[in-house]
Amino acid sequence: MIPSSVFAAVHVVPDPPLDWWPFIISTVIKMIVVFTVYMVGVAMLTLAERKISAWIQGRLGPNRVGGKLGLLQPAADGVKNIMKEETLPGHVNKPIFTLAPMLAFIPALMAAAVIPFGATWDSRWGRIPMVIADLPVGFLFILAITSLGVYGIVLAGWSSNNKYALLGGLRSSAQMISYEVAMGMSLIPVLLLAGNVTLNEIVDQQANMYTWNVLTLTISFFIFMVAAFAETNRLPFDLPEAESELIAGYHTEYSAMKFSMFPISEYANMATSSALMATLFFGGWNIPFMTRDNSGGVGLLLVLLSIAIFAVKTGFFLFVFIWIRWTLPRFRYDQLMSLGWKTMLPLALAYIVIIAATILALDYFGSTQPWLQRSSAWYGVVMLGVNIVLAFIVFFILDRGRIISPAYGRATPQQIARLRAVTAARSHLSPQSGD
């Protein structure tokens, strides 16, 4: 009765294992490459953000530095931020004020260490996995580390000793903690389906079923994406730095490079979330319709192809992040909270129950019917069918006519009558027209 994949949770050491010196050299090279790609990518994201926002608004965007596309604009911005005078306001708590940008920045980078970005390379020195740290608990590590990012923001807001900054920090802590719950819950169906918390195993599972998890677990993906926007403090959930209310929120008092650490960590978080979405829901680095690359090491060419595929998927989600930002207006704070607690969380919990029941039923039949075994194409087809029904219910029935904020709700005739009675009873108090 117990599916074999449960035992696969114990991570299998790649065979043949690497010698110690190729391991160290390859790890150092991977670290340097990933760090460089991350930092350059983040710099380029600031440019992409400005370019895409400009194009959406019918403008040209930065085009004065580095050709028509303004490719050197990030470099110019970086030089400007480093050369700028750094002001340290007298009223701040200096140690924490200095520590906060680092605390925001480090978790954003650390999460990138466990995300697999390519197929395992069968090199002449042994099998080299294309992930910096091939953690068996990579998925849990990411959930743990990304939630640390809130400390940087809260401490920045608190140590600034400024009303706006404090409000921004408080908002961000409430928001991130609320959406963390929905985010974690939305990922449980993915884990149930893969029977594993290793990110590479989740990629393998999607390849073996010939479907991406977004097709079998659409609602999970939807909740995860909304929660990822809230976690990264991106519009429409950028309440921690709502300019119109809080000046700049938690980084009001920051200047120069300390300030730019916050945008950098925001973009790094975006990149991590995008990579995670690509891995968990869009097949990760797997070359579509090909399972050979999952069965072990492959040649260098296929490794590079798989890395390119992963980069394209991640890039697409980064574009979606920017695209959404320039489409949707900001939520009101009570709407944000009621969306998180009253919509996303119950939806995720109900979804877990349904998916768990489906998987249990499928495993039961799979134990007698070999064609319906775990990690087979037919298994994916059945999940897909269940998912189409559920997605239809959520997006066409539940989504219709239900409003997340009480202030907007469709009032019943009784409620309208009550409101009218209240105003009528008060009418003698209010000034008459013509006053």
Partner: protein, 164 residues
């Protein structure tokens, strides 16, 4: 007057978050590929109207002297009091301006000075790029006003109200 809360009963099929979001995203995506409207300012400039009222210009006679006869009409009509005029008189009894200064900072570019001038001497011009390092730099004296070369503004013609 008591305030009544007006609650609009919106049709159920119009109240959808996901579809409204997708609709908005389709709209922004279509704008991504539309023609851009930016004018790259220092290199490209927008065409300005023939009736544009900008930097002043004093026209001169063939001999190079300012046409101004210091009649005093323009400082009188000026609503922002930005024209300073000290009249003088030569041996033949011709009046001419000893001092003629326009403070381009005070000026509201209404064009009354051009309209009122009997000699068609002072004009507002089709020119707008003025920048100086000090406020004093914006006080244009007679020499500077006659040295301007930009085209002058055309007056409004009632027979051709749109200036076509």
């Amino acid at each position: 007057m008591a305030i009544n809360v007006k609650v609009l009963a919106r049709p159920v099929e119009e109240v959808s978050y996901v579809r409204a979001t997708i609709k908005g995203m389709a709209r922004t995506l279509s704008h991504l590929f539309k023609e851009k409207v930016t004018t790259q300012y220092p290199e490209q400039k927008e065409e300005i109207s023939r009736r544009w009222r900008g930097t002043h210009r004093m026209l001169t006679t063939e001999t190079g002297k300012a046409k101004c006869v210091a009649c005093g009409l323009c400082p009188t009509v000026c609503p922002s009091n930005c024209i300073k005029l000290v009249p003088g008189e030569d041996e033949q009894g011709n009046r001419y301006p000893l001092v003629f200064e326009i403070d381009e900072f005070r000026c509201i570019f209404c064009g009354y000075c051009q309209e009122v001038c009997p000699e068609e001497a002072i004009h507002v011009g089709r020119h707008y790029e003025n920048s100086e390092y000090s406020r004093e730099g914006f006080v244009y004296d007679l020499e500077r006003l006659t040295a301007q070369t930009h085209p002058v503004s055309e007056m409004w013609d009632p027979a051709d109200p749109k200036g076509e």
